[in-house]
């Protein structure tokens, strides 16, 4: 089934490390943007043919930017549009990314009534010194309160993002954030490593303030110890960067890793359907103009070759702890994947990074840390 992604490119402040598609919040632009979104969803890249059933979808994901800068009415309008255009499954997972500082009990209640049933908080760290270095607006107390407020508003599927390898962060400091994350009892946690882009303002600040990132070995230790602590607290790692309580895996993100299909709306949104891949124009104004000018927002559309699709399915699938199902991929792509890649993969098997059985291939925990080395085999 299809996953729907809705991009919200607004932020109250720009973080010094972020290079996602975003800009500063502007109320007028936001109004026009939401109208454009609704128009895109209603129109659809491919209109419903008369007499045929609408496509079925079972997830909606509001990503950003900071989607929690939308009002509950905005969110409701978008969800309603999705329901008009797609056959939404009962109990569909509807996620909204939120920043702790922009959330209030009233807003949470509003989002819940609009149909959102999963909140993902961009917490990043539970240490205030680290949050300051990342130029985040919230502090750790605010993050904990946002989580408690979401619980009180009735959300039973709450996720938070944490980052390791922050400037100046040591292994123990990372584990302090892990422990505090466990203490606020989320249902799902994403753990990433900070990647400082070449032109990120954070890079200059790091140079000025002589902050450095921990050596690679320490980061590997952060990852392994962090995962172990979450497991001890009843979470299960199901993906390279994600842990969840039982039945709380991100249904939407799973589509990316299981060779699924998704349709993106909004500026810079990506879509993958029926072996083709495209993205919408990145600029917010450009996107709005196109939607109101009756011009399609999609650019860079291309059909993937079977080889590319298989390669993508393999390298994304290996992100999952369950790995890839050999029989399914062999059947879907009429291939014998071990015959094709076995020789290139054997060194990783020998090093204990990859486990191979006739049914499944999966990366070990050490292998997940070096996933790119293995995945490069498939491109």
């Amino acid at each position: 089934m299809l996953g729907l992604y809705v991009h919200v490119p607004f932020c109250a402040a720009i973080c010094n490390y972020c290079n996602f598609n975003r800009g500063l919040f502007d109320a007028t632009v936001k109004g026009r943007y939401v109208a454009a979104l609704v128009r895109e969803i209603d129109g659809g890249a491919e209109p419903v043919r008369v007499g045929s059933l609408p496509d079925a979808a079972d997830t909606i994901y509001f990503g950003g930017g900071t989607p929690s800068l939308l009002s509950p009415d905005d969110v409701s309008a978008v969800i309603q549009a999705c329901r008009r255009r797609y056959a939404m499954a009962d109990g569909a997972e509807i996620t909204l990314e939120a920043n702790p500082e922009s959330i209030t009990p009233g807003l949470l209640d509003g989002f819940r009534h609009a149909g959102v049933n999963r909140i993902s908080f961009g917490v990043q760290s539970f240490r205030d010194d680290e949050l300051k270095r990342l130029s985040r607006v919230h502090d750790s107390a605010r993050a904990a309160r946002a989580l408690a407020d979401a619980r009180a508003a009735g959300f039973d599927n709450i996720s938070l993002d944490l980052m390791m390898w922050l400037p100046g962060q040591q292994v123990d400091e990372w584990l302090e954030s892990v422990d505090r994350a466990i203490a606020v009892a989320p249902d799902h946690v994403s753990l990433y490593m900070l990647e400082v882009y070449p032109n990120a303002p954070l890079r200059d600040e790091m140079a000025r303030s002589a902050w450095s990132q921990a050596p690679d070995d320490d980061v590997a230790a952060m990852y392994v110890a962090g995962m172990e602590r979450f497991e001890a607290a009843g979470f299960v790692q199901y993906e390279i960067s994600n842990v969840a309580k039982p039945a709380r895996r991100s249904q939407h993100n799973l589509k990316y890793w299981t060779d699924g299909e998704w349709q993106g709306f909004g500026c810079g949104a990506h879509s993958t359907r029926r072996g083709a891949r495209w993205k919408n124009v990145s600029g917010t104004d450009d996107y709005i103009e196109r939607m109101f000018g009756g011009r399609p927002p999609a650019i860079e559309k291309r059909c993937l070759t079977v080889d590319e699709r298989l390669g993508d399915a393999l390298f994304t699938g290996l992100r999952l702890n369950d790995g890839i199902n050999v029989a399914v991929l062999n059947a879907r792509y009429a291939a014998d994947i071990w015959r094709r890649y076995g020789a290139d993969l054997q060194p990783f098997v020998d090093l204990g990074l990859l486990e191979v059985t006739p049914d499944r291939w999966r990366l070990t925990r050490q292998g997940l840390l070096l996933a790119h080395e293995v995945m490069a085999v498939f491109v």
């Binding site: 490593m193 990647e195 960067s241 993106g264 810079g268 993508d312 994304t316 790119h372 490069a376 491109v379």
Partner: protein, 602 residues
Amino acid sequence: MDPRLIRNFSVIAHIDHGKSTLADRFLEMTGALQAREMEAQVLDAMDLERERGITIKAHPVRLHYTAKNGGKYVLNLIDTPGHVDFSYEVTRSLAACEGALLLVDASQGVEAQTLANAYLAVENNLEIIPVINKIDLPSAQPEEARRQIHEIIGLPGESAILCSAKVGTGVIDILEAVVDRLPQPAGDPDAPLKALIFDSWYDPYRGVVIVVRVIDGMLKKGAKIRLMAEKQDYIAEQLGVFTPKAVPVEELGVGEVGFLVANVKKISDAKIGDTVTETNRSAIEAFPGFKELKPMVFAGLYPVEGHEYANLRDALEKLRLNDASFFYEPETSVALGFGFRCGFLGLLHMEIVQERLEREFNVDLITTAPGVLYRVTTTDGVVHEIDSPAKLPDTGRIATVEEPVITAMVLTPSEFVGSILQLCQDKRGVQKSLEYLAAARVLITYELPFNEVVLDFYDKLKTISRGYASLDYHVTGYWASPLVKLDILVNDDPVDALSIIVHRDMAYDRGRALAAKMRELIPRQMFEIAIQAAIGGRIIARESVKAMRKNVLAKCYGGDISRKRKLLEKQKEGKKRMKRVGRVEIPQEAFLAVLKMGTDTE
């Protein structure tokens, strides 16, 4: 042509002292080229030459100049290469002249190369006109330059002409001085033909173009001629002069400079320094000074991708058409596969060849550490010339090893003398002399093992003197030395392409430094990599590159799988530029680690 109206001269200058700009100005002021035809620095024809600001090949240009005395003169400007690797070509170019301009930068003063070439000019009995250039610069110190010309080179400084080639000041004074102060060519027009070859190149349409200076007699179009060193006969099919465009002529007489096309197929058949004479009326003796050029510096060149071998071979063949001083032969390395052992005149020459291969022929190269030509006598009394560490016989079979020695002249401000002497001692040098030439200018002469100079002497000299010291050298002989082969093992396997030959007393330090440098240059891989330095099977140093532990696990933004794929592709592309030896990916620069050792270990 009347030799009284001919002046043949060249310009001696250090790199960047303005030789090419001055030559441009000559062309412009004598009307050889209209200003609009000029591309800056016409004489440096190869791109590489223009980029590096150096002249690799000598080009003669005929200038028509009407002097203030009313005479219509032909001035032949014979350009000379400006680098020590090409000093033999410099001597032949100078031999084709009666005089030389000694060009000194008004703010830089006299440098070692200027001095060395000035000595060469004096040895060739050339009349020298000192010229102080760049007097328009605010930092110009013409009086100091005058003093240095007098005190360091021993020429009358007061006779120096002040000029700014850039703005044109003094250029006419120089042309007048060329007419007045340089002697006319002296030669016997009735003697058998004797013409000196001082340059040649390969032209795909005409074959080898030979540049000559007629010493005696007359070179006529259609004449049967002989190249004396090769003892080959040809017909002089075309003659001409460069103005700088090629203009055909019927004959070239005493003192004239021009080109000759004679259906010579290979550039190695028309060697620089050889003499052209008539087949039927041969000169008794060739013009003196001819030498067979021998490569001095050797390195292995390998394609990064094995299947590029044939391309590399074709490229080398084509390069060799135009460069007789460069040598190559197939070589096989256990680590690198099929490649070539190549010989060069020097390090700059090697860099030029490498760059041309990569640029003009699109071959991705791995170059192994450059070395010199050793002379090894085995216990059976046979003498072997060894151009590669791999060819060094087993220790048990070696009776003696000799290494080439250079005489190096270092000209430096006196404040750096102490550290330069220390450097020369560290490089196993033997001091020959130390002269205070002028206030605060010192000429240090040392005998040094050539191998040490090939490694990193020049870089170190420039570093410790903050760029002020300059160097000139000539290979002057061989001396016996206790030399050993230093091997590098990667994960217990010796990598033949990383072996070097070093002095026994330095082997331990070198081995440690080299292993440490390799550790820096080899990126972490999925397993630990052991790097060892060994002499004759005995491990003297060990380093390890720890296993890589992680890649960055970043957020996937809204299902942008293409971005993830691009990241993986980029990673894979990076690996392609490395050479896989066993399981280990070794980056190109690691094979030249020995050249970069000094940077962190001191």
